[in-house]
């Protein structure tokens, strides 16, 4: 008898601690999510209201103060040409947000239908699309982007398209495998029995059902796109002066990293913050979705 009570007590204690752990975890997650949201919002505001927020003209040159450390006037210090790093960060957020957004949009608009088509049609169509994807995959993405930029000339738009090209098969392949799983589900069979067209089955029924995959991949690729574009800018193949983006700022600052590290630190921190916040928000969005599903 006593053994039974003991078991029950142990069980109760375990349940309690699990609940308590759940609360702490939940609190921690909430803090992370709110912080991420604030950071994202701040970066978005910077991009939208750059002229109002920037203390200086981001391209104003002060040749006598290269690599100046932070001062009262220039809070984040000055770069190789004495330009205000803070103002350049604020203006740089524009291209740093726009670039990955275009990359993701292109990858989505072309990758999703191609992936769907491959999964739904199968056979020869699938083979053809998948082999083309394989060919693009065979090159390291950044290398392929460098080749494209080298061919068409260095500019922000070329860099964006070059990165987008390497992301289409990434998106397409993920969508293809998700759609393959989805296609074998009974409700899709029911749709086929109802005689619905492929378009309706794919985009009206299947696409919302793989929404989770699409959301997570899109945010992930946004972050990757930002990093790849920054890398291209760092190599001097992305945004060209007087355009400003964070990757370009890194390139500009790396020669003077020992005189003034702020030129490297601040853009790098900005990139990391944006990528990490995006990932946290995406995780949370997916968790939220699954919680909603499990609650029902």
């Amino acid at each position: 008898m006593s053994a039974v009570t003991g078991d029950v007590m142990v069980f109760e204690r375990e349940t309690q601690s699990r609940v308590a752990g759940g609360h702490l975890e939940g609190l921690f997650q909430r803090i992370v999510v709110v912080t991420s949201a604030v950071i994202l919002l701040a970066i978005l505001c910077c991009a939208l209201f750059a002229p109002l927020l920037a203390p200086h003209n981001p391209n104003a040159i002060h040749l006598f103060d290269p690599y100046a450390p932070p001062s009262r006037h220039f809070l984040f210090g000055q770069d190789s040409a004495g330009r205000d790093i803070l103002s350049r960060l604020i203006y740089g957020s524009r291209l740093s947000l726009l670039g990955p957004a275009i990359v993701v949009a292109i990858a989505f608009v072309l990758g999703v239908p191609l992936g769907f088509l491959a999964a739904y049609r199968g056979g020869l169509t699938d083979g053809l699309i998948s082999r083309v994807f394989d060919v693009v995959f065979a090159f390291p993405p950044l290398l392929l982007a460098v080749v494209i930029v080298a061919t068409f000339g260095a500019s922000f738009i070329t860099a964006v398209f070059a990165v987008a090209v390497t992301y289409i098969p990434l998106m397409g392949r993920v969508v293809r495998s998700a759609a393959l799983v989805e296609r074998s589900k009974p409700y899709v069979e029911e749709c086929r029995l109802q005689g619905y067209g492929a378009w309706r089955i794919l985009f009206v029924h299947m696409m919302p059902n793989i929404g989770r995959v699409l959301v997570s991949q899109t945010t992930l690729y946004f972050a990757y796109g930002l990093l790849d574009l920054s890398a291209l800018s760092f190599l001097g193949l992305g945004a060209q002066p007087p355009q400003i983006d964070w990757g370009g700022m890194l390139e500009n600052a790396n020669q003077g990293v020992f005189q003034s590290p702020t030129g490297v630190i601040f853009p790098a921190v900005a990139i990391v913050l944006l990528v990490v916040s995006l990932n946290f928000i995406a995780d949370w969005a997916l968790d939220y979705e699954s919680r909603k599903e499990s609650r029902r």
């Binding site: 056979g123 009974p186 409700y187 069979e189 029911e190 029995l193 109802q194 005689g195 619905y196 309706r200």
Partner: protein, 355 residues
């Protein structure tokens, strides 16, 4: 009830469904392998015909053949007549259209077969909007009528709910209502009552019977539950290894089974009248049409098998008001089986007593 009556009694004119010597092959690797073989089946308007058999016997493949959604590379031969028109001779697009509009499907697991992200209302109205070109409000009104007709209370409210907010039985009714939304003349119920509890089962069965009578629906009731088929169906077809082996009217199949398979199948059911130490089983394993042995596919498991059963495939012969595919159909195998099994069961009883 008057509102629902109009939807329910909107008679479809009643069309009969006939399968004549229908054979379906699936592509396995480079070969074509049969899954149903020379199936003959006829359903009149307002009639419920049962199709009974073990898993893998070809029941569902028969339904998919009628519905026209077989896996890629499948081939169907024979004649598939809907109101006298051979579907298999139609151009593909026309055939798909006829099948989509004239044939409704009800499956075992409505939770899997209804898009989980769609509200009941959207699921109900989709086919009407796509196939009948009805507007949103028209199809909505009709959907509510149909939900009411299949016995769902407060249909307006249900229209806004998601599938996972409804119980299994309720969802099965939604599926039936959805299948009826484009006014089909044939309803294929593939294990439609298997996944619901017994009381709900009875209600669903009653509902199908009522809808069939009121709307002149030809219903193919696929099940592995012989007792259920017996209650619902005016005719029962027993399927084994892709072939129909016995066809009987009404209660005949229970009182006077002809085919050895049916006899054993019935003997393997527990009954409330007789208590047996151990239920008889059919020895051997069920086979599908794909890897059926030569001759009569049942012969390796049949206790009445003769030499000719191993070589020749028996034809369908009329026996005692039914049809059976057996060389010994004219003998009273059921009585023979009873005598044999009573001998073996007493022996079994002795064994049990000794141990």
């Amino acid at each position: 009830m008057s509102a629902s009556a109009s939807a329910v009694t909107a008679a479809t004119g009643g069309q009969s469904l006939s399968l004549q010597e229908v054979t379906t092959y699936l592509r396995v690797g480079k070969e074509l392998k049969p899954v149903i073989l020379r199936v003959d089946l006829h359903i009149d308007p307002g009639e419920i015909v049962g199709l009974v058999g073990e898993s893998g016997s070809g029941k569902s493949m028969t339904a998919l053949t009628i519905g026209g959604v077989l896996p890629r590379g499948a081939v169907t031969e024979g004649r598939l007549l809907l109101d006298g028109e051979n579907l298999l001779e139609m151009p593909r697009s026309r055939r798909r259209e006829v099948q989509a509009k004239k044939i409704g499907f009800v499956f075992q697991d409505p939770r899997a077969y209804i898009d989980p992200l769609w509200r009941v209302g959207d699921h109900m109205t989709e086919a009407m909007r796509v196939h009948l070109g009805l507007s949103r409000s028209e199809s909505r009104d009709r959907a509510i009528e149909l939900l009411d007709a299949v016995g769902i209370d407060r249909p307006e409210r249900r229209m806004h709910q998601f599938p996972d907010e409804l119980s299994g039985g309720m969802l099965q009714r939604v599926m039936i209502a959805g299948a009826l939304s484009v006014n089909p003349s044939v309803l294929l119920a593939d294990e439609a009552t298997t996944a619901v509890d017994v009381t709900t089962q009875a209600e669903i069965v009653k509902l199908l019977a009522r809808l069939s009578a009121e709307r002149g629906l030809s219903v193919l009731f696929i099940t592995h539950d012989l007792a259920l088929a017996d209650i619902v169906c005016s005719r029962v077809c027993v399927m084994y290894a892709g072939r129909i082996v016995e066809v009987r009217e009404g209660r005949q199949i229970f009182d006077d089974p002809i085919h050895p398979y049916t006899i054993d199948l019935l003997a393997a059911r527990p009954t409330i009248q007789h208590r047996v130490a151990r239920l008889p089983v059919i020895k051997g394993v069920p086979t599908s049409a794909m890897d059926a042995p030569s001759g009569c596919p049942f012969h390796p498991r049949c206790r009445f098998a003769l030499d000719e059963c191993r070589t020749g495939v028996p034809a369908m012969v009329p026996v005692r008001g039914g049809l059976a595919r057996c060389f010994r159909a004219h003998e009273d195998l059921a009585t023979l089986a009873r005598e044999g099994s009573s001998a073996s069961s007493t022996k079994g009883g002795d064994d049990a007593a000794r141990s």
